[in-house]
């Protein structure tokens, strides 16, 4: 079998192919395979690993474009997933700066964590001397998010980060904000919610790719959605993100039940959306947007049921 590894020596990028016998790696994990290459074929190959049992998060890499935790991925699983493939492409995690071969720079991500104000600020009734009180239900609510091992798999999969890293943080950063904001011991959930909004919360594009491959089965996308709901509830409703969300709501409930692209842009951005005329024309030409919709679209089938569902969902999530 061939393993094409994306390499970077500090100056130039190149690809290098390593050949291994399938029988030699069948019983191994992906990390085991990388160790085998390094220790038997090429000592210059660089990657990071520490615990080898899926709890430290050091060995995230991509195989054929998708992110995996190396020590938590058996080669047989990869053979199964990429049926009959005799070549695998191994690359560093996406959306990070590559330092060398499969090693990425974690410093910016750690600094992003700092921005959502990590660390619990406990209620005044609790003290350093006596600790806190929390019931099992309150604990259960946040404990899944505490499984996050900062492996970076979600960040590698994040399409928003690929498009633009400058105004967004890694999905796990929002998961960590969520678990603080939803901890019953916190003095104020807005400490972290506000910080999350300030650091690009509304820029999530809801593709849920972060959720798909999380080795701990955490949904950062759901945590992001949860934080936006919390933000709106607490009155953080100005800005393009909330306006965009409200435009969806208006179309679905008060409107036809169908998203009206023209009004969506107008409701989100107001008159300044005129600047997007060029894009609108492109969309119309491609048949993606009907200019007649400016007069309102036709109501979808079963619109009443849709409204009922939305109302029921609202009632269910009321505090």
């Amino acid at each position: 079998m061939k393993f094409i590894i994306d390499r970077f020596d500090g100056k130039k990028n190149y690809q290098q192919t390593y050949t291994l016998e399938k029988k030699d790696i069948e019983a191994l994990t992906l990390l085991g395979t990388l160790l085998l290459i390094k220790q038997k074929q090429d000592i210059t190959l660089n990657f990071t690993a520490s615990c080898r049992m899926a709890i430290c998060g050091a060995c995230g890499v991509r195989v054929n474009g998708h992110a995996y935790l190396g020590c938590d991925t058996k080669m047989t699983e990869l053979f199964e997933e990429y049926k009959d493939a005799d070549t695998f492409r191994i690359s560093p995690l996406a959306n990070y700066t590559v330092l060398s071969d499969l090693v990425v720079d974690w410093e910016p991500a750690i600094e992003n964590l700092r921005k959502i104000k990590p660390g619990l600020v406990a209620k005044d009734s609790f003290s350093e001397k006596e600790g806190c009180v929390q019931n099992q239900k309150e604990y259960d609510r946040i404990v899944k998010q505490w499984d996050c091992i900062l492996c970076g798999v979600c960040a590698s999969e994040c399409n928003k980060l690929t498009a633009d890293r400058s105004d967004y943080a890694e999905p796990f950063v929002f998961t960590q904000a969520w678990r603080l904001a939803n901890d019953s011991r916190t003095k104020d959930p807005m400490i972290n919610t506000k910080a999350a909004v300030k650091n690009g919360l509304w820029n999530c594009v809801h593709c849920h790719e972060c959720t798909n491959r999380c080795p701990k089965h955490i949904s950062a996308a759901n945590d992001i959605a949860g934080l936006t709901v919390l933000a709106l509830k607490k009155g953080l409703n100005s800005g393009l993100g909330p306006a965009h969300a409200k435009a969806f709501h208006t179309d679905l409930v008060e409107g036809s039940g169908r998203l009206n692209e023209i009004y969506l842009a107008l409701r989100t951005e107001g008159v300044s959306t005129v600047a997007r005329t060029g894009m609108a024309i492109t969309l119309m030409r491609a048949g993606k947007m009907n200019p007649l919709e400016i007069f309102g679209g036709h109501t979808i089938e079963g619109h009443k049921d849709l409204v009922k569902m939305i109302e029921a969902a609202k009632a269910a999530t009321k505090e």
Binding site: N46, I110, G119, Q134
Partner: protein, 616 residues
């Protein structure tokens, strides 16, 4: 696959469109001031007030304590890798500390169990203070946000841990260490601790008895530079990697601190005290927790026999860790195991518990079986063997009150340090509270010291740096050397240590091992790494780590050979009894400039608890 890529491409283009719409309520703030310790000073060397080496719980707690003690100090945590990739994160069971006195538990009882568990090689005054601090630490961790499992009153939940008279092992499910690590990271970020990731401490400089700083290699660039610090905290973890593949600890725990301390002329205390856990997976030594046997798992040799009946018939698989470890290793040694050499094993069988119970109560263990042994515990027994688990020995620290070494300005904490809490054997649940408690004390004292101290001259530090710069060139510069040389040596060192100073120790084997160590050292000195690229040269990192493991191996061997008794984890087949007359003492190992090691003894501090036979 092609379908997935299409979808991905579509989503990406959709994102770019979203970006163009600029749906934003404020961009990500500019990264906070760069993590840099390059504050210029008269000598031109970078400086830092408190420099902490290691980012496990001990290092992170030290950093926060130092910042809280004196917010005007620069506190930097140096780590070979991203923080949170540490051994702390791998701990599962829990963290000891008495917070509930209603069932008659007390700090004294925790201390007593600790002293007895350590087979009386514990400094008793230290154990008492430690137990008090451990109780306080639990509340503090709760307060800073650690999500503990809870009891019906909403208080921190606790369970029994081995060797404990009462339930005082507080836990967060079966991942207490992981959750502790991340709590500590959050708290460190909150308190403005700065990190130097991908930096490796190569050496430590002591001049005129004082610590003046460390030599750091920036793994990213390969730059080797001296960093002067007013105080340094070593929180570099343990050295059980001396057994290379027969340990449960992470690849990065290579005793860098202990080796640096020895090179600097300071003392490594009780180096022979290494704890073994009976059940590690055959390939790589990762831990199968005690729960497997606790739930009813059975051990079998190649005759299909439940061999524990020949050792401890009334306890069988639930006998104490050290006894089960010795029994398994004896089966292998006498030819009743499977496989051979370092891949020998016996079988742990949980099939009789049934699919449902295994999936419900032992999911993590099943997962580890699948990952390392390609074995589904539901269908087949799994190959296991004892695995080195914890280093009780470590950098000699004079007192729990300061966590200071004998060199002013140099502190140590956590598994890297030995302030004699664990003696000859550590109790389950005592490692996480050791890291938390000693880390904090070291941080406070490092800050206090730094506030009063001046920077050292840095001459020796400079010389050491120059030495390492030329060393790197010498080791990596030539095109000689094979990829496999270093890894083969590392495996051989692990195997030799395992068979000659592992679970069974005898004089003759250890003398043989001393000769082997000399040969390994010669081979090591002749090693060359065929990679001259300074950028992220992980092979050179591993080379330095292997050198440290060799030094730690030699120190452990010296202690193990001289300690002619059996105590706790240290088991001598030629001296099977504990000898309190001659060896109720700490072994104190030092190394001179020529590399020769010396041994002295230091009395254990007694006085609180009577020294008795350790019986459960």
């Amino acid at each position: 696959m092609s379908e997935q890529f299409t979808r991905r491409e579509f989503l990406q283009s959709a994102c770019i469109t979203m970006g163009a719409l600029a749906v934003s309520t404020g961009g990500v703030e500019q990264a906070f001031a760069a993590t840099s310790i390059s504050t210029p000073n008269t000598s031109g060397m970078p400086t830092c007030d408190v420099l902490i080496i290691g980012s496990g719980a001990a290092g992170l707690r030290a950093a926060v304590a130092a910042r809280k003690k004196n917010p005007n100090l620069t506190v930097v945590v140096v780590s070979k890798i991203m923080p949170t990739r540490s051994a702390t994160t791998m701990a599962e069971g829990g963290i000891n500390g008495v917070i509930d006195f209603s069932d008659g538990d007390s700090f004294a009882s925790h201390a007593k169990d600790t002293v007895k568990g350590g087979d009386y090689l514990v400094d008793q005054d230290t154990a008492l203070k430690f137990a008090e601090y451990a109780g306080a630490a639990i509340h503090e961790l709760d307060y800073i946000g650690m999500p503990f499992s809870r009891d019906s009153n909403g208080h921190v939940a606790k369970r029994f841990a081995g060797g404990a008279a009462k339930k005082r092992c507080n836990f967060a499910a079966d991942k207490t260490g992981h959750i502790l690590t991340h709590t500590c990271l959050d708290d460190a970020l909150k308190h403005g601790v700065k990190f130097l990731m991908d930096h490796h401490m190569l050496d430590l400089s002591i001049e005129n008895g004082n610590c003046e700083g460390v030599v750091l290699r920036n793994i990213r660039t390969g730059d080797i530079a001296p960093v002067r610090a007013k105080s340094v905290v070593l929180a570099t973890g343990g050295y059980t990697r001396v057994f290379w593949n027969r340990t449960s600890t992470p690849y990065i725990a290579t005793g860098d601190g202990a080796a640096a301390v020895l090179r600097a002329g300071l003392t490594f205390k009780d180096p022979e005290m290494l704890q073994f856990h009976p059940t590690g997976v055959c390939h790589g030594g990762s831990l199968i927790t005690e729960a497997a046997r606790g739930e009813g798992g059975t051990l079998h040799n190649n005759l299909g026999e439940r061999f524990m009946k020949n050792y401890v018939p009334n306890k069988m698989e639930l006998a104490p860790r050290d006894i089960v470890s010795r029994s398994i290793e004896n089966e292998i040694r006498e030819g009743r195991g499977f496989g051979h050499d370092m891949e020998a094993y016996v079988l742990l069988d949980v099939r009789h518990l049934g699919r449902e119970k295994i999936l419900r109560d032992l999911p993590q263990i099943r997962h580890i079986g699948l990952l390392f042994e390609n074995t589904d515990l539901i269908e087949k027994p799994i190959a296991i063997r004892p695995t080195a688990h914890y280093s009780m020995g470590g950098i000699h620290v004079t007192s729990l009150d300061t966590m200071s070494t004998t060199a002013p300005g140099l502190f140590a904490a956590g598994e890297a340090a030995c302030v004699s809490i664990h003696g000859a054997n550590r109790l389950g649940g005592n490692s996480l509270c050791d890291a938390t408690v000693t880390g904090k004390i070291a941080g406070i004292n490092a800050a206090e010291y730094a506030a009063k101290a001046d920077f050292g001259a840095g001459k020796r530090l400079n010389d050491l740096t120059l030495k390492w710069i030329s060393h790197f060139k010498e080791i990596t510069g030539s095109s000689t050397g094979n990829t496999n040389d270093m890894y083969a040596l590392r495996e051989e060192l692990g195997a030799a240590n395992w068979y000659n100073m592992g679970i069974f120790r005898t004089e003759s084997k250890m003398l043989e091992l001393a000769e082997q160590h000399a040969k390994f050292q010669a081979r090591y000195d002749a090693l060359r790494i065929p990679n001259a690229n300074p950028v992220f040269n992980t092979a050179f990192t591993e080379y330095v780590e292997l050198g440290n493991l060799l030094i730690a191996s030699r120190a452990a061997l010296l202690g193990a050979t001289a300690r002619k008794e059996s105590r706790g984890s240290h088991y001598r087949e030629d001296y099977t009894k504990r000898d309190d007359v001659n060896f109720l003492k700490h072994s104190m190992v030092t190394m001179d400039e020529s590399g020769k090691m010396h041994l002295a003894w230091k009395d254990v501090v007694l006085g609180q608890f009577k020294v008795e036979e350790r019986k459960y």
